[in-house]
């Protein structure tokens, strides 16, 4: 008996017991659907997160105080002088721009509205280095930095939160931590939302922030954004920055008291995190696939018992062990294959709905059903059917014809 005939017979047998077949398939459908949906949502989350990190800029370096890999004692904080030293054309020819930043959490209010947000104290170079644009008003000027002016740029999210609009706000007054600041502009939306929204910020002169908001000593800064002359010069720029800071901080060899990260480093970290999340979710969904497989085994065992006489008859007519084996394995594999195919459709649907819900709630999450996930689910579900069909099929194949024929 060849495979084609076995498939035809299996289809006849499965369709003669439609409700049971459908219920058995359901376990696999849910399992495969869950796996597909989880992988798709995981992929989508990864794309969103890495996408928004990439939006930060590909030729940008983050210089921070401290060292994440070693325990160091006397760490020197980064200062304005450090930042200015990086602008040296001779020691750091790969550096295009430098933007020192102090930052902190603040509460911003206007009238009765108030919102918790993130404040960046910046210099004039921040606009070019971070590629920020204003939709109205103008960026912070050199005079405002020198004069510690009480002026603020609002991120679009903050503007919406406080005023329900993003235009006509220049000249308004907002209070940051209770102190009045004059609005001099509104930032253009950068879109994307990952760990920290780039739109949910307020920007003030760095001197103002040091003196009145984050209360740092005059010189101390939290972070330096460095723009390299090109994306290819990124590692060169990183090396130059390290040399300058090592000299300035007089660090011991191999004991840098600062950390330089590129956008790529953040992407890698985020990918690692989302991969772990995806595997975790997929694994949980995989358990339901396993349960579906056990359901198939259960039904196949019932089916073997029910059809003992039929098996006896087939053996009397000349069916060999492998013929009976093939018959039952074909049935269980077909069950799970159908379940897998329908499950892919279900998973696709769930992903689509999750995407719609995310879009409706303003989260940029676009689940991606990959071809690899579909292939994986199809192969895996058929394998589940084969594996869990093996025992019942073997049981059927090893029935004694005399006993089987006598079975009532």
């Amino acid at each position: 008996m060849n495979l084609g005939q076995a498939i035809v017979e299996a289809l006849e047998s499965l369709s003669s017991n439609k409700l049971r077949s459908v219920l058995t398939i359901l376990g696999i459908v849910i399992g495969v659907g869950a796996v597909i949906a989880m992988l798709a949502v995981g992929n989508g989350a990864q794309n969103t997160i890495t996408g928004s990190i990439s939006g930060i800029g590909s030729n940008l370096l983050f210089v921070m105080s401290g060292n994440t890999t070693q325990e160091l004692t006397n760490i020197e904080p980064l200062t304005m002088d450090d930042a200015n030293a990086l602008l040296d054309q001779f020691q750091a020819p790969s550096v295009e721009g430098v933007a020192p930043v102090v930052n902190g959490d603040v509460t911003v209010s206007a009238g009765s509205e108030s919102t918790a947000t993130y404040v960046y104290g910046v210099t004039t170079s921040y606009e070019a280095v971070r590629n920020y644009h204003v939709t109205e008003g103008s960026f912070i000027t050199e005079d405002q930095v020198l004069g510690k002016a009480s002026v603020v740029l609002l991120g679009p999210d903050v503007a919406k939160e406080l005023f329900d609009r993003t235009d006509g706000l220049v000249g308004e007054t907002v209070r940051i931590e209770g102190q009045p600041f004059k609005v001099i502009g509104v930032l253009e939306s950068k879109g994307g939302s990952a760990f920290v929204s780039q739109d949910d910020v307020v920007i003030v002169p760095i001197t103002t922030s040091q003196a009145r908001l984050t209360r740092r000593s005059n010189d101390r800064i939290d972070l330096i954004f460095v723009q390299s002359i090109s994306a290819d010069a990124l590692s060169q720029a990183s090396e130059e920055i390290s040399q300058i800071l090592r000299t300035r901080h007089r660090t011991r060899v191999g004991q840098d008291d600062f950390t330089i990260l590129s956008q790529q480093d953040f992407v890698e970290t985020a990918k690692t995190i989302t991969n772990v999340m995806t595997i975790f979710l997929g694994g949980i969904a995989g358990i339901s696939l396993l349960v579906g497989g056990i359901g198939i085994m259960n039904i196949m065992l019932v089916s073997v018992t029910e059809r003992t006489r039929e098996i006896g008859l087939r053996k009397a007519l000349g069916a060999r062990k492998k013929d009976i084996m093939l018959q039952f394995l074909t049935e269980s594999s077909l069950l799970s294959l159908f379940g897998g195919v329908i499950g892919i459709g279900l998973g696709w649907l769930i992903s689509f709905v999750v995407g719609k819900i995310a879009a409706a709630s303003g989260t940029a999450l676009n689940p991606v059903v990959g071809l690899d996930a579909i292939l994986l689910a199809t192969i895996f579900s058929t394998a589940v059917g084969l594996f869990f069909g093996l025992y019942p099929a073997n049981r059927a194949a090893n029935l004694e014809p005399v006993e089987a024929l006598r079975y009532e």
Binding site: N2, K315, A316, R320, K321, D323
Partner: protein, 230 residues
Amino acid sequence: MENSTIPVIQTNDLKKTYKIGEVEVHALAGVTITINKGEVVAIMGPSGSGKSTLMNLLGCLDRPTSGRYILDGEEVSELDDDQLAGIRNRKVGFVFQSFNLLSRSSALANVELPMRYAGISKERIQRAAEALESVGLADRMNHKPTELSGGQQQRVAIARALVNHPAILMADEPTGNLDSKSGKEIMDLLLSLNKEHGTTLIIVTHDPAIAAQTQRIIRLKDGLVEEESK
């Protein structure tokens, strides 16, 4: 008949012992019989006499505990399961008391089944149709067993048993589930098939009227051949 002296079944001291718990039951205690080609033989005996066991052994459904059995020139008592399946497929046709048709499949598909296991694919449908014609069911080929009367179902079973041209046809109480009229028709059909094609026919029965229509009766008692009569 000219070929009636060629033996198709030869057994020598065939024994079958079952173990039920600690007790050994000698279902067959040494049966030596010879059945020639083209013969019509009845096997009779009270229940527990071993006639079912003998039928299972002669039909290659089971192996003897000891003894020899030569079917159509082949020693079959030592073969393994799959080899026995092949022998059943090619040399033995079965007709059961309860028909044993696949209820999901049409009459034609039921008759095709032995040829599927024989690996015949080309002329399968044609041969199955011819077999159904020869039992008078040419117009019922696509009916399911549930749409057929008992007598018709048994005809389908007979067509299925004959489709691979077996050396012997084993019928286990072939009329037991039928009314007397259909029973008689089935017996007439079996006897006419024997006359036309020379198929060796072995009928297991407890009905003396059926046995009387055969050429020879083998009576069993307590696992032994009690008498052979013509």
